[in-house]
């Protein structure tokens, strides 16, 4: 085992040298089991939790007065609601990709980031789910009328509508992600139960561990279940954002009605997701001293994935413009011209800057290996992906077919409060997660220790 520091992160190990089974467990479990909650946790949590109250405020206002307080109007029937929905759903994708696809592809480096990436997925879905529910005029019935439940009137949802597909896609995604995440936590729950310092914690983690004893039979069943779940989750990586993209692609609107949307949206989602994982991983590993587990190699790999998906997204933008011209459809040509040079042209060019120009700096190894730069770029990409949805939704709607009905859109203070509130909610949930659950999978980390391999050889 080489003990010299690696200058090239790409060939660095995925776990810092010198760790043993117990040191890994000690290190990760200690964050959760520590008696004293660090002061910075309280500070961060308080701020995030306060910001999350904006969600409550906005929803209460919404339920009392209606969605008129938002900027949506005719012709721009969707605004921040759907922009934010797509943005959050997109962010979630990296978690599923890391946990499912990379597992199947036996990418071992994923083990140290999959747990919190999955948590991020779940929390992003929680944030995303607020929007489609509350953006309707009558959320109290939208909550169940979109579901196909048997009723005396023989009424069913309209299965031709992409929004119904969306309901299925998102609920499936949320439930599979939650199960996958929970199943992954079971062995770690058992570890925490065994190491718990008081009875209450032992009981709570004990319930979570579902009687896990770590027997060979348990491990055997567990491994197959986990692999099956990974197999189940894999198509979801592609399907959810494909279906979300159908919300637009099925519409007749120029700027929405495009066959390129599914792959373009999926790539965009993974792109946004990796940006968010990086945004979270970089401070997390610094604050909790997890640099041994989330190494420079991880950051480098993620930067590369981000760069690759960023290029796919850039290709999507190029194709959008190309097909507008190639189609010779006056609607499409007008749409792309309006998108680039119309009243929201600045949004479009800001999006190009954020999503196409900025990530290309990651070709340069020195910039890619600079954590500060990587953190900055990941934030820029998150902004860029938000702008992308803004551009797709608003610029397509605001000037569509009849010039008499053209309009302008601008988010109101309540649009912003809901958006910022869900960011607060997301961060709040992350804080709770980091404090109460192991942010890195302990048992999986042990499988990548050199010791684990040695034993394998001997047996």
């Amino acid at each position: 085992m080489a003990s010299t520091p690696h200058l090239d992160p790409a060939s660095a190990p995925i776990i810092a040298p010198g760790h043993t089974f117990s040191s890994v467990t000690d290190k990760i479990a200690s964050i959760v089991l520590a008696r004293r909650t660090p002061l910075h946790w309280f500070l961060g949590f308080t701020i995030a939790f306060s910001v999350a109250q904006l969600v409550l405020l906005t929803i209460v206002r919404l339920l009392f007065w209606g969605i008129g307080s938002w900027g949506v109007t005719v012709p721009i029937g969707w605004g921040f609601d759907i922009i934010n929905f797509v943005w959050w759903i997109g962010i979630g994708h990296a978690g599923t990709l890391i946990s499912a696809i990379l597992l199947l592809l036996k990418q071992e480096w994923r083990t140290s980031i999959n747990r919190f990436a999955e948590a991020m997925t779940l929390f992003a879905v929680v944030c995303a789910a607020q929007y489609p529910l509350f953006h309707t005029g009558r959320p109290w019935i939208a909550a169940y009328w979109l579901l196909p439940y048997p009723n005396t009137m023989g009424l069913w949802p309209n299965f031709r509508s992409p929004l119904i597909w969306d309901v299925f896609a998102v609920t499936t995604y949320a439930s599979v992600s939650a199960v996958f995440w929970y199943v992954g936590l079971i062995p770690d729950f058992a570890t925490l139960r065994d190491r718990a310092k008081n009875k209450l914690m032992a009981m709570v983690y004990g319930i979570g561990s579902m009687g896990w004893r770590g027997s060979a039979r348990h491990w055997h069943n567990y491994e197959s279940a986990y692999l099956l779940l990974a197999g189940l989750a894999t198509p979801l990586v592609v399907s959810v954002h494909t279906v979300v993209s159908f919300d637009f692609a099925v519409g007749v609107l120029p700027g929405w009605h495009a066959t390129i949307f599914p792959p373009y949206f999926v790539a965009g989602a993974i792109y946004a997701g990796f940006a968010m994982v990086l945004t979270l991983a970089i401070p997390l590993r610094a604050w909790y001293g997890l640099k041994d587990f989330i190494t420079d190699r991880h950051l480098d790999n993620m930067a590369k994935v981000m760069l690759a998906t960023g290029l796919i997204v850039a290709y999507g933008y190029a194709m959008e413009a190309f097909f507008a011209w190639y189609s010779a459809s006056s609607w499409e040509i007008f749409m792309i011209r309006n998108r680039m040079f119309g009243p929201y042209g600045h949004m479009y060019w800001a999006l190009i800057l954020c999503n196409v120009v900025a990530p290309n700096t990651l070709w340069v190894p020195r910039l890619r290996h600079s954590h500060a730069w990587l953190f900055f770029i990941s934030l820029v990409v998150s902004v860029g992906m938000w702008l992308e949805r803004y551009v797709i939704i608003v610029t397509s709607l605001h000037r569509d077919f009849l010039p008499s009905s053209w309009g302008m859109y601008q988010g109101t203070v309540w649009d912003w409060s809901f958006f910022i509130g869900t960011i607060g909610l997301f961060v709040t949930l992350l804080y709770l997660f980091v404090r109460f659950l192991p942010a890195i999978s302990m048992f999986e980390m042990k499988t990548i220790l050199p010791g684990a391999r040695v034993e394998e050889h001997h047996s």
Binding site: W65, G66, I67, G68, G71, V72, T73, V74, P75, I76, G77, W78, P132, H135, T136, G137, R138, I141, A142, W145, L146, L155, W156, P157, N158, R160, S161, P162, L163, I164, V167, D247, V250, G251, V252, L253, S330, F334, P343, L397, D400, F401, L402, P403, S404, S405, W406, G407, M408, Y409, Q410
Partner: protein, 1013 residues
């Protein structure tokens, strides 16, 4: 039935009204409850065999009874919101003939437009009037109506209507008013009425005229003034100038091949507009015969100007010169300066001469008397008299002193303290009088100022006595229309507010017969005039809505030369200001009408306020910019318009086709006592308007303030891009008659429709009916009557300025306006856009809960209670005809507005999408009728609200499965096209291309490139 036989009921009504005493203080529904419960009335209802059983044989009496009962029973239910009401359910002891609960009844009556009658049929549901339509038997409405008539129903139920009789702000009973007036009149009688003055709007009611004349006969020194801020006194003055006698011209456009409008918006404003537009558009039915041709000279683009073949934008002061040039061209002895319009005028004159006897020159109501006289002279010269124009005696009294000069006289009398009693009925001089007459100050010098009005308005506020006026749908009267036809005005409902009295009652208070009811007065007046069998004739008159044989014979008049033949006015240089009635709120009388406030002004699409209109060139010279579209409304520069030391501030608005060096201000805004809807919006142009410049004035200055303000417009402000795109998309397809004759296929060649099989979904089958609509763009003038009709029919809420600015207006039907060609002299196009009811409706496919579905007759139905409000349908609707209730827009609280609603149409709540239904409730009503009769639905039997209102008959509706239906035949013409058909939506609503008939000798302004849609 004799008059005596009727007394118990009317007596009951009086007692019910009087028993209120200070009833005005109460909510009106309480008083009506009282009315229903008053012993006399209850007894009446319970009598098994009424003494006056003969009433049941008399339609008028029966209606009266039903109205009362219907209203009180309907209103009794209103109390349910507050507490459990004491309900006395009174069954019909004997079911009244024709009264079926749930079925509407229609009653003929008339509503006034600046005093002139518009014949209407009012739809009544169990005693509540809910909708006004034109009366097909009335010659001035022909079954059609205009936006003001349509909006009148909201005027009736306006919750801000005056509800209490007040003496200096204190609520007083009617009896106190009567006794106070009796005392005042005793003093006046002693001095021959020297201090007694009456001020009214235009009065055409023969009964009221007789009543006032009788009153004046007893008071030789009293005077009667008439004041309309935008009335027709110039028309009457013009006739006096030309013929030496007051007369009113009545135009007949059906026989006019060439029409010249001298700043006359005759198609959209004025009491004759409905009839004129109807006659005009009959000559614009491309398939029916040769088209007429319209020349318009005007400063501000109007609906009339927008459909002209040849339109000339001139300063207001130049209109007279153009009129003189035309007159001179025809060989009349007048001075004519050759101006920049010489070539245009020459072509026009040649065209007029070629159509002598089949042409017509119309002067605008506000034009000076000389222009009217010139128009009369020109028409006479062309031999148009008795063909396209005839003259009838003025509908107003000879004893009324009208016009600004008369009002100045009254003002002087007030200032001199000569007026003891000033009775103002249906007029608001404090707000509308010329500024220099200082009415707000001088009117207070009247010892007793009595004001009777629907609202306690600016004048009512200052009055010593304010009497709430009963609405025209609440009282008996009669009215004369512009062509002289007389209608009996019958009440549809007892006054909503017990303190309300009709003008007959109010003026009766000054006579010796204070207690005569309006009903008796009207009958009394007509008793000797309806022929030998009065009762029969009366019943017929009330039933028909017109009194047969009362239209006056045309006068035979000849133009007498006078000073007016020679120009006196010097040409004006520099900036001019023009004052025009607002296209929606008129002179301010409709300021508190939410429908009209929210109705986009036909040419500017501005709502909820008046703007300062300028031409592009003038605005450019001043450094003003077109309004900028933002998400919060259209941002416009605020300018100050200064005239004679007074100034008003308003947003500058660039109007393509506006005359240069002219600024147009519209009246009717800046009100302080209109009500909750109309107060404090816009600027008050009356403050700049003086007797010397009633329609226009020179010497105005416009100053930029550097501020900007948000304006609520429903269509993007003037942007090149939008109009270029509108052209590229072939939304409006316009051709000249020659082009169309040469290549009729050109209309449809501009569009492209994919094969019907190009859809994933199986096609719909229509075995029975399949409803469809065509809208003829050749006929449409963009008058907006259809939009208000739709709003009234379908219970569409008013959302307010801020929401309109946001883009959240709710009107199901909108009229899109497009410009074409040069900015300074554009062509205008109007395109009404209701739901297209697409065969392949993009909205239906995307709704997740199937709240918008296709009916088996091809309607795109909206299921309100299934809608969850995702707005996906609206996003996916290429025509953007869907409207969403972002807030709870509908007023669920105000009791009077509940009465107004059409019970056949659901009230939509918050969070629900809505849109045009093709008036499905009307389809179903006809379907039920037809089924009951065991027959098929007849073509034309179903009329949508927009279609029924449209004076131009531009809208056709019917069964497209029936090849013989009118709509099928129109769809079969080569003018028929759908918009955005390349999306394979297959719209059921299609358009008929706009065909114009320009003079080949003239290159038509904006229409040079007519293939541009």
């Amino acid at each position: 039935m004799s008059t005596e036989a009727f007394v118990p009921l009317s007596e009951l009504r009086r007692r019910a009204a009087d028993s209120g005493g200070t009833a005005g203080q109460r909510r009106y529904w309480k008083s009506l409850d009282e009315l229903a419960n008053s012993p006399g009335f209850t007894e009446f209802l319970h009598r098994e065999f009424p003494h006056n059983a003969s009433e049941w044989q008399d339609p008028a009496g029966r209606r009266d009874f039903m109205r009362l009962m219907g209203a009180s029973v309907a209103l009794a239910g209103l109390t349910a919101c507050t507490r459990q009401p004491e309900e006395k359910i009174v069954p019909y002891v004997k079911s009244p003939e024709a009264m079926v609960p749930g079925r509407a009844l229609y009653f003929a009556t008339a509503v006034s437009d600046h005093g002139y009658a518009k014949g209407v049929l009012v739809e009544s549901h169990e005693g509540r009037p809910t909708k006004i339509e034109g009366n097909p038997e009335h010659p001035s409405s022909l079954g059609k109506s205009d936006l003001h008539t349509q909006a009148e129903i909201l005027g009736l139920y306006d919750p801000d209507r005056s509800q209490a009789l007040k003496q200096r702000g204190e609520i007083r009973p009617w009896g106190a008013f009567l006794s106070a007036m009796r005392t005042a009149m005793e003093a006046q009688k002693a001095i021959g009425g020297e201090g007694f003055r009456i001020l009214t709007g235009t009065v055409t009611s023969p009964t009221l005229i007789a009543q006032i004349e009788e009153l004046l006969a007893g008071l030789p020194k009293a005077k009667w003034y008439g004041w309309e801020p935008t009335g027709r006194d110039n028309v009457r003055a013009g006739a006096k100038l030309a013929f030496g006698q007051a007369a009113e011209p009545v135009y007949a456009l059906q026989d006019a091949d060439v029409i010249v409008a001298l700043d006359a918006d005759f198609l959209a404003t004025g009491p004759a507009s409905v009839r004129l537009l109807n006659e005009f558009s009959r000559r614009r039915k491309v398939e029916a015969g040769p088209l007429n041709r319209l020349y318009v000279v005007e400063s501000f683009p109007t609906a009339t100007g927008s459909v002209a073949e040849h339109r000339r934008a001139v300063k207001p002061s130049e209109v007279e010169a153009v009129a003189r040039a035309i007159a001179a061209g025809l060989g009349l002895a007048t001075t004519a300066a050759s101006g920049p319009h010489a070539k245009w005028v020459a072509a026009l004159v040649a065209d007029l001469q070629a159509h002598a006897g089949r042409s017509l020159v119309i002067a605008g109501d506000h034009q000076p008397a000389a222009v009217h006289a010139l128009a009369h002279a020109i028409n006479e010269k062309l031999g148009n008299v008795a063909k396209t124009v005839r003259y009838v005696p003025a509908a107003t009294s000879a004893q009324v002193h009208e016009g600004t000069a008369a009002l100045a006289e009254l003002s002087a009398e007030l200032e001199a303290g000569k007026v003891d009693v000033l009775v103002v009925v249906g007029s608001n001089p404090v707000y509308t009088a010329p500024a220099e007459l200082e009415f707000p100050r001088r009117i207070l010098k009247a010892f007793t100022l009595v004001h009777a009005g629907l609202h306690e308005d600016e004048t009512g506020e200052l009055a010593s006595w304010h009497v709430p006026l009963a609405h025209e749908l609440e009282s008996w009267s009669d009215l004369r229309s512009e062509d002289g036809t007389v209608s009996i005005v019958q009440p549809l409902i007892a006054p909503l507010y017990s303190a309300a009295h009709s003008a007959h009652d109010v003026l009766g208070a000054f006579s010796t017969h204070q207690d005569h009811k309006a009903y008796d007065r009207v009958r009394e007046y007509w008793r000797d005039r309806l022929g030998p069998d009065f009762e029969k004739a009366w019943r017929k008159a009330v039933h028909d809505g017109v009194i047969a044989g009362q239209a006056p014979a045309p006068l035979s008049l000849t133009v007498q030369a006078g000073d007016w033949m020679q120009a006196t006015a010097k040409p004006v240089s520099g900036l001019e200001v023009a004052f025009r009635p607002d296209p929606t709120v008129d002179d301010g009388r409709f300021a508190n009408n939410g429908w009209l406030q929210e109705l986009p002004k036909p040419m500017t699409k501005v709502t909820w306020e008046n703007v300062v209109h300028l031409s592009p060139k003038t605005a450019e010279a001043m450094g003003l910019h077109p309004g900028k579209q933002t998400a919060r409304g259209l941002e416009a520069d605020v300018v100050e318009v200064i005239l004679g030391g007074k100034a008003v501030r308003g947003p500058a608005w660039i109007v393509p086709g506006h005359a240069d060096d002219t600024v147009t201000l519209t009246l009717g805004y800046g009100r302080t006592r209109a009500g909750r809807v109309g107060d404090g919006i816009g600027y008050d142009a009356y403050t700049l308007r003086t007797s010397a410049g009633m329609s226009s004035a020179p010497g105005v200055a416009v100053r930029k303030t550097g501020q900007s303000v948000l304006v609520a417009g429903t269509q993007d402000h003037w942007t090149i891009e939008a109009h270029v795109e509108a052209g590229n998309r072939h939304l409006v397809r316009a051709f000249t008659a020659d082009e169309y004759a040469k290549d009729p296929g050109a209309v449809q060649k501009l569009g492209h429709e994919p094969a019907a099989s190009m859809t994933m979904f199986p096609p719909h089958k229509y075995e029975g009916h399949a409803w469809g609509m065509t809208i003829d763009l050749t006929s449409c003038v963009g008058c907006n009557a259809c939009v208000v009709a739709c709003q009234a029919e379908n219970n569409i809420p008013v959302v307010g300025k801020e929401q309109v600015a946001f883009g959240r207006e709710m009107q199901w039907l909108r009229v899109d306006r497009y410009y074409e060609g040069a900015v300074d002299d554009p062509g205008y196009h109007h395109q009404p856009v209701p739901c297209m009811h697409c065969e392949n409706a993009p909205c239906e496919q995307v709704c997740p809960v199937a709240a918008t579905v296709h009916s088996d007759e091809g309607l795109n139905d909206m299921v309100y209670n299934r809608c969850v409000g995702t707005r996906y349908c609206s996003n996916n609707c290429p025509y953007k005809v869907r409207r969403f209730n972002f807030y709870l827009y509908q007023d669920w609280e105000t009791p009077s507005l509940k009465l107004m609603r059409n019970p056949d149409v659901s009230i939509r709540s918050r969070g629900v999408m809505e849109k045009c239904t093709y008036c499905v409730q009307r389809i179903n009503k006809v379907r039920i009728d037809a089924r009951n009769d065991g027959r098929d639905i007849r073509d034309g039997e179903i009329q949508t609200a927009c279609q029924q209102a449209c004076p131009a008959e531009a809208i056709a509706f019917g069964d497209v499965n029936d090849p013989k239906s009118k709509v099928s035949q129109l769809k079969a013409t080569q003018r028929n096209y759908g918009i955005l058909t390349d999306l394979n939506t297959r719209p059921r609503t299609t358009y008929l291309a706009e065909i114009r008939n320009p003079n080949p000798a003239l290159k038509s302004g904006g229409r040079s490139d007519s293939s541009h849609g």
